[in-house]
């Protein structure tokens, strides 16, 4: 596994340096920045600083701007990481390298992890860039439970990675990236509490937030980075996120294996 990991990491690094996907990079940053600016403008000019009391009771904070900007920051981080990992195999298929890859006796998990860790370098830069923009528009960071920041980040990345495997399986099944990924992203952004708490949504849609790693990630990150929350809540969410991640991971690995076989069977040429 280590072999495929380091080989793929190096390969992706070379590819990124040679042909940096600037359009994706800037696109992701802009996505985050748009959410920030949109929130800023609507808060000041439409709501005129007035907040729905429900918002405060759902979120435990009256700092709407910090809430939304955190949403934008992590939403684009999640989108970026999901895209990088989920598109790996379908890209190999489109570029005609899938068979050469599958001919080698290498670990697929190592391959995906290599791509993910390399991808984190890119997503991480985007993430920092959006946070910096956010600070100008009213993002208030506080250092509460700072020791938990790293473990939360690791668990969140793992869960997103696992979700990307499932997404990648669907991409192979439908032979499509665009519609598949954007369907997920629209739903994810809607139900994960990116710019408003999911409690505002009808119950049946709200349920979807429970299968989105981003939802737990945002809850956790907001409690740790913007306002203090009781640590029992944090542990509970961290545990849910881990469980969800493990679930996605198991499903994703199996699904990917199946799709890999089916692509070879159905792919002419």
């Amino acid at each position: 596994m280590w072999i495929a990991f380091s080989a793929t990491f190096k390969r992706q690094l070379i590819t990124m340096r040679r042909a940096y996907p600037w359009s994706f990079f800037i696109g992701h940053i802009l996505d985050g920045v748009y959410i920030t600016i949109f929130a800023y403008l609507s808060y000041h000019f439409i709501f005129q600083g007035q907040l729905n009391t429900q918002f405060v009771s759902y979120t435990g904070t009256s700092d709407y701007l910090s809430y939304v900007i955190m949403g934008g920051v992590f939403n684009s981080f999640a989108v970026s990481l999901l895209m990088i990992v989920s598109r790996m195999l379908i890209n190999e298929m489109r570029e005609g390298t899938l068979e050469a890859l599958l001919l080698t006796p290498s670990s697929r998990l190592g391959y995906f992890l290599g791509a993910a860790i390399q991808g984190l370098m890119r997503s991480g830069i985007e993430w920092l860039a959006i946070i910096c923009v956010g600070l100008f528009f009213g993002l208030n960071l506080v250092a509460a439970h700072l020791a938990l920041l790293l473990p939360i980040m690791i668990v969140l990345c793992f869960a997103l990675f696992a979700q990307a495997l499932v997404l990648g399986g669907f991409m192979l099944a439908f032979r499509d990236t665009y519609i598949t990924q954007n369907t997920l992203f629209v739903i994810m952004t809607l139900v994960s509490g990116v710019s408003f708490p999911p409690q505002f949504l009808p119950d049946w849609i709200q349920g979807l937030s429970l299968i989105m790693p981003l939802y737990y990630g945002l809850e956790l990150m907001r409690s740790v980075m913007t306002h203090a929350a009781p640590s029992s809540d944090i542990l509970y969410h961290l545990l849910s996120l881990s469980t969800l991640g493990i679930l996605y991971f198991a499903i994703g690995l199996l699904f990917m294996k199946r799709m890999e076989k089916s692509v070879l069977e159905k792919h002419f040429g």
């Binding site: 072999i3 495929a4 380091s6 080989a7 190096k10 390969r11 070379i14 590819t15 040679r18 042909a19 570029e95 005609g96 390298t97 068979e99 050469a100 890859l101 599958l102 001919l103 080698t104 006796p105 290498s106 076989k261 070879l264 069977e265 159905k266």
Partner: protein, 326 residues
Amino acid sequence: MLEAKHLHKSYTLKEKNGWLSRRKQQIKAVNDLSLTIEKGEIIGLLGVNGAGKTTTIKMLSTLLAPTSGTISIDGINAVKQPELIKRRVNMIAGGERMLYWRLSARENLMYFGRLYGLNGNTLKQRCRALIDKVGLTEFADRPVERYSKGMKQRLQIARGLINDPDYLFLDEPTLGLDAPVARQLRVLVKSLAKEKNKGILLTSHYLEEVEELCDHVSIIEKGHLLLQGTPRRIIQTIVKDRSLIVVMKTLDKENWHWLKQETDKLGIHAQKKETNEGTRVDMKATFDMTSSFLALAQKRNLQLIRFDAKKPNLEDAIIRLTEVHD
């Protein structure tokens, strides 16, 4: 030794009939095919488009699981232990696929080498040696997207050799290559088998190539084995006709009548035709008629301008074979 026994492969195709309903259809791409490859031997797999050659190669290289049948490579079951087999085989397909276009030749080989578990100096040296071998030294650090077709194809050969496989499967490796490059490739393939003792399976639509390279040939049709043997034997068993064409400055009526009678006696079918070159006689028989005809020509002192004895080749054999089966 690679042994494939009673291989079957069916694909399921879903065809739309009507708006939402779909009909399942089974396509038998390979149907009870058996073959063996010894180390050091080059086997040719021939057949028309859609005969099942690529499917067979994909099964042997573990990309596809056979619907039924067994494949064993040096005693290892390829269906049950594909991970072990992958280390010992490799596959090269014609065309420009199976390479990362953004990476250079060296980076491509390093990547694939690492995936086979090579590292450090062993890997570096092997990459360098392979790049030299396929003549890409000058371009080793240039991204593949800027390569010509022939260069990509040569790099693919290097990729196929990166794990130093015992068995190598080549699916139309000279597709679209110009004559000198195709020739270099043939020399390389021959040396891989004869000097490096690799077992090689080759498919190609260029029959001269197959005739030149292969020790044994299997001809398949609709996934089924039609004929197996050395190229020479196949030609002998299938193409019975040989032809001889001679052109003479002049051939008067009397000599023609005599010639016709004599050739008839020998079982040669002869036809005369006037051309601007002179008088042309086309002869057909089931044996090599060179010496008998020369004897006749000497008797009457016929002056020959041209003398063409055409040896039948594999192409004639294949054409004949498919005619019979259509």
